[in-house]
């Protein structure tokens, strides 16, 4: 079976700055795949290359559902069901929570949108309470939830999350992982870039370790969690960072 997302020998970066040097990864339908790695390894660039969000592909191929994404506009990629929640969230700060959510459904047919909005408010009660507030007035955790909820309204087949837990309280981080588990149960594939290696490996099916723009390690999450290098660098590091 062909993978839902398939990267082969991807070289990418920003203008003349090359960040990724021949990265190949797969995500199967319904799979939760994590990307770990130190800062500057190219994790965010990987996601940005896939969604064609600022980073540009210079060699190799990115295929989603069998289609070559290099030939598709960023809008068409969203329509295909590939959604990206980047670092910084990119909400519409001056628009209401409700408008933010509804614009998440911009590419889907109007029929069913009302139901999807109602379902979202049932799932995220704190967004329902703030529905008429402007998005910039939300707390960091609420903004992260709104960014994820806005992407979910588009009914993704693959959701890419870039460090969703960074800077958030442990309770909210747990909520985000619970949401990711729910998505997996519902059959949505997730490509997760995270600092929190412990929670990530506990929840993921498989993981890649990215170092200096190349894949250094790959395997099932369980295998990687037992790997000595991963334990020393990421799980140890995660424990150190837990106090932050």
């Amino acid at each position: 079976m062909a993978a839902l997302l398939e990267l082969r020998g991807v070289h990418a970066g920003y203008g003349r700055l090359a960040v990724l040097h021949g990265v190949s990864i797969d995500v199967q339908a319904g799979e939760l795949v994590a990307v770990l790695g130190p800062n500057g390894a190219g994790k965010s660039t990987l996601l940005r290359t896939i969604s064609r969000f600022e980073a540009t592909l210079s060699a190799g191929s990115v295929r989603f559902d069998g289609r070559d994404l290099a030939a598709r506009t960023p809008e068409a990629i969203v329509r295909d069901g590939l959604l990206h929640v980047p670092e910084g969230r990119q909400l519409f700060a001056g628009l209401s929570v409700d408008d933010n959510l509804r614009l998440g459904g911009y590419t889907r047919p109007r029929a069913g949108l009302e139901q999807a909005v109602a379902d979202t408010y049932a799932r995220f009660p704190m967004l329902a309470e703030r529905r008429s507030q402007e998005a910039f007035s939300l707390s960091g955790g609420e903004q992260q939830m709104l960014a994820i909820a806005r992407a979910l309204i588009a009914r993704p087949r693959l959701l890419m999350l870039d460090e969703p837990s960074t800077g958030l309280a442990p309770q909210i981080v747990e909520g985000i992982f619970e949401l990711v588990r729910d998505l997996k149960r519902a059959g949505t594939a997730v490509l997760l870039v995270e600092q929190n290696a412990y929670l990530t490996l506990k929840n993921a099916d498989r993981a890649y370790v990215l170092e200096n723009g190349s894949i250094a390690l790959a395997g099932s999450a369980a295998e990687l969690a037992r790997d000595e290098r991963v334990q020393a660098i990421y799980l140890g590091g995660a424990a150190d960072e837990a106090g932050e």
Binding site: V78, Q90, L91, F92, L103, T107
Partner: protein, 295 residues
């Protein structure tokens, strides 16, 4: 005395409606593209001249010419975005803003080539060559003044409905608020910008046609219309559509009140000084937010 004052305020609101439409157009384009369009007033003139041609050469009613000129403004706005703003913006917003100043003179001399350099008359919406005038308590109310203020209100209502109540209107606001975020939800940001500019130029053409019967259309009036609309936008607040509307009306009224008692020539210096004073003292405008200035 009171009648005289009312008379001047009414005249000011009529002229000010044109400035309000210019200010709104500048606001819409600035929101969408971060470019200040100094050619907005020239598009007012162009709209009026197109309506003039529809009436004088095609023998259409001015009430038919109005939607035609507005639609033509929309199409011209799409071209203006594609041929001037978008390519110039690649070298930065300042380049694009200067390109709009270049556009002023291309249009100014272009109009003179096609229509001559003298202003042309447009028929009044009720009554043709001579406007219908009512007398109410010593104040003369011309039908065209009612048309102008009423059509401004209709245009504002249509804009409000589009931007606040329709999905595409909200998508355009989202694309202006955060272009990267808009791409993430699948909004075509380039198209949203093009539509925004087209709406602004359509508003200008609409304004030129409704004001035209009072002011005549053509000649070199466009630059002053641009700057006075801009003053209105700065006074009210560039980032506030309500501020832009009220600011434009305010400039129109101020101009009339100054001109009558102090003779011609005092209004313009005062209005332009107001621009400087506002920029120095309260750059966000009376109804704008501080955030807009920092952005």
């Amino acid at each position: 005395m009171l009648q005289q004052l009312l008379q001047l305020v009414l005249a000011g609101l009529t002229v000010g409606s044109g400035y309000a439409l210019v200010a709104l157009g500048i606001h819409i384009i600035l929101r969408a593209t971060r470019v200040i369009n100094f050619a907005q007033g020239e598009f007012v003139i162009l709209g009026g001249l197109l309506a003039y041609t529809a009436v004088s050469a095609c023998h259409l009613s001015v009430l038919v010419a109005l939607p035609l000129a507005t639609a033509a403004g929309f199409a011209i706005g799409l071209l203006f975005e594609r041929l001037v703003i978008r390519p110039a913006e690649r070298s930065g917003e300042l380049t694009a803003t200067i390109a709009t100043i270049g556009t002023v003179y291309v249009l100014l001399y272009g109009h003179a080539l096609i229509w001559g350099s003298l202003p042309q008359p447009l028929p009044f919406f009720s009554g043709g060559d001579r406007d219908v005038v009512w007398h109410a308590g010593g104040v003369e109310i011309a039908a065209q003044q009612i048309w102008v203020v009423g059509l401004l209100a209709a245009a504002l209502a249509a804009l409000w409905f589009f931007f606040e109540r329709t999905t595409y209107g909200k998508a355009i606001r989202a694309a202006a608020d955060n272009p990267l975020g808009a791409r993430l939800v699948g909004i075509d940001v380039d198209r949203a910008r093009a539509i925004s500019v087209a709406i602004a130029i359509a508003l200008a053409a609409f304004g030129g046609t409704i004001i035209g019967p009072i002011t005549l259309v053509g000649g070199a009036a466009g630059v002053a219309i641009s700057i006075k609309g801009f003053v209105g936008a700065i006074v009210g607040g560039l980032d506030s559509p309500i501020g832009c509307t009220l600011g434009g009306l305010f400039v129109g009224v101020l101009e009339q009140l100054l001109e009558a008692p102090f003779s011609y020539g005092i209004a313009d210096p005062v209005v332009y000084s107001l621009l400087l004073a506002m920029l120095l003292v309260r750059p966000q405008g009376l109804l704008g937010s501080r955030r807009a200035v920092r952005d």
